[in-house]
Amino acid sequence: MASKGKTATLLGLRHLTLMVIAFIMLVPFYWVIKTAITNENIYAYPPRLLPQNPHLFNFVDVWYLIPFPRYLLNSIIVSTIAVIGNVVFNAMAGYALTRQFAGRNMVLALFLSCMLIPFQATIIPAYLITAKLGLLNTYVGLALPMLSTIVCIFVFKAAFEAVPRSLIDAARLDGLSEWRIILRVLMPLSKPAIATNVILTFIWSWNNFLWPLLITRDPLMQTLPLGLARFLSYMEDTTGALYAFAVMVLAPSILVFLMAQKEFIRGLTSGATKG
């Protein structure tokens, strides 16, 4: 019975530690939301722990005073292009990798080695290449480096390989072309892979800051992260408008993440580093 007491204390200790950790992780969220809804001078010391007279009008201000709708639209367009391109190209490449052909190992090695090249190590030539292609300051140029990720290619490859060969052979006997086989047989059975690809690409392209920073010239083509960074240097006033902006920018990411947590985690653990 002494051991039972000990287990109970251990359990309590575990919960306590986890709660402390969870508290530390959540404090920044609370602090920024509280600042976004306060109605007073946020720089007054001591800062109140609870907002007095909270109001939501800072969010309305952010919507009208800065081009938030425009930035939102740009981010949505770029992310959509990136996601669609990504799913299509990765599925194609993943399918090609399930077939045996000469040089397959070389291609595999090539892809794996590309994983070790982080995006930030390529920014200067990537900028010059995009400039040569004439795609600076365009939606396509913004989405172009993100149109294929190696992690997702392998996710598709694994998903396609898990489909029983009998189905594929039956489809081939029925005379379906390769495209049809992918579309009609493999993709419907690989919905988790598609979901993983969509969520990974969406989050990566939504949060991307460095690439739009280099590529956009026109303030109207900026995406949300860029708009947020610009706003920081505009407005150092005493209201919570900047933090309302931050909350509005974070809300879609949090919503998408909560909705697609499982797929996101699966995508990360099947290859980890950002393609």
Binding site: L11, T17, L18, I21, A22, M25, V27, P28, W31, V32, T35, I42, Y43, Y45, P46, P47, F89, M92, A93, A96, R99, V107, L110, C114, L116, I117, P118, F119, Q120, A121, T122, I123, I124, P125, A126, Y127, L144, P145, S148, I150, I153, I203, W206, N207, F209, L210, P225, L228, A229, L242, Y243, A246, L250, S253, I254, F257, Q261, L268, T269, T273
Partner: protein, 304 residues
């Protein structure tokens, strides 16, 4: 006979063409934005080039300039190494959290979600949040420290030469902790339970079970976390840019911010390319060392 072998030949050709077509878009993207840039960086680093003049081969001049005259490079290098050195601490902390959460503890998934929530967020927004938390007047950190009596004047975390880099690193750890935790959790859950059973029967105490079973079996996950930690010193550009932009006076300058400023603020593309080559070499070198430390082969574990 002749006809059917031709047909097979044509089929195989058609299949090969199809496979090449399928691989082509991805290959083009990777070629344009990964491989070509890598090579071009190297070439550019040996040239003197600007958008207005044609290129001239100057050999190692950029590297010599970097070695002898560029003080910022050395500061940035030191900061980047400090940044990377902080990741083992973060990984250890994440391992602790993963161990705590790895069970059918009631609400384990809630804790996991809370810890992981910070990872999918935009680094710019995270930087703004932490900048505000570190603020001398309105920030909660100074408020908590002052009202609990630990300090009596506010600390300018992001303005002080000594506090700036640790503050940025702390914010970065806050964001990446969930990611490490997920990787380690997946690794923990793939350790076969019968190993623990056997050890318990043999009478091994808990810490021995940890050292002899858990840690070795986690080698691949730990290696992955270390590599991500190294790569993070590249991708933390967003956070540093928005929190301090390398300041105060280069105290938080990382190699990546130095590259950005050299390339896109001073438009010295060739010099920035040389810096990139150095940073990439550092990355590859450190990964190689980590691989050796993990026992080679990316820490993969031999299973009997």
């Amino acid at each position: 006979m002749g006809v059917s072998s031709n047909w097979w030949g044509r089929q195989r050709n058609r299949q090969l063409t199809l496979i090449v077509c399928f691989l082509l878009p991805s290959l083009i993207i990777f070629f344009l934005y990964r491989l070509l840039p890598l090579g071009w960086n190297v070439i550019l680093s040996f040239q003197s080039w600007s958008p207005l003049r044609p290129a001239e081969w100057i050999g190692f001049e950029h590297y010599a300039e970097m070695w002898e005259y560029d003080d910022v490079f050395w500061i940035a290098l030191k900061n980047t190494l400090i940044f990377i050195a902080a990741s083992p601490l973060a990984i250890a902390a994440a391992l602790g959290v993963a161990l705590l959460v790895n069970s059918d503890l009631k609400g384990a998934s809630v804790y996991r979600t809370i810890v992981f929530l910070s990872y999918p967020l935009m680094a710019i927004a995270v930087g703004i949040i932490w900048r505000w938390m570190y603020d001398e007047r309105g920030g909660i950190i100074n408020y908590a420290l002052r009202s609990s009596g630990l300090i009596d004047k506010p600390i300018g975390f992001l303005q002080d030469f000594d506090w700036a880099l640790p503050s940025v690193i702390f914010a970065e750890v806050w964001q990446i902790l969930g990611f490490y935790m997920i990787i380690l959790l997946t690794g923990l859950q793939s350790i076969p339970q019968n190993l623990y059973e056997a050890a318990r029967i043999d009478g091994a105490p808990a810490w021995a079970r940890f050292w002899r079973i858990t840690l070795p079996m986690l080698r691949p996950s730990l290696f992955l976390c270390v590599v991500v930690g190294i790569l993070n010193s590249f991708s933390s550009f967003d956070l540093v840019y928005i929190m301090t932009n390398g300041g105060p006076g280069h105290a938080t300058e990382l190699l990546i911010t130095h590259i950005y400023k050299a390339g896109f603020v001073q438009t010295k593309f060739d010099y920035a390319a040389a810096l990139t080559v150095v940073q990439f070499a550092l990355l590859v070198g450190l990964t190689f060392v980590a691989n050796k430390a993990a026992g080679g082969n990316a820490g993969a574990v031999e299973r009997d």
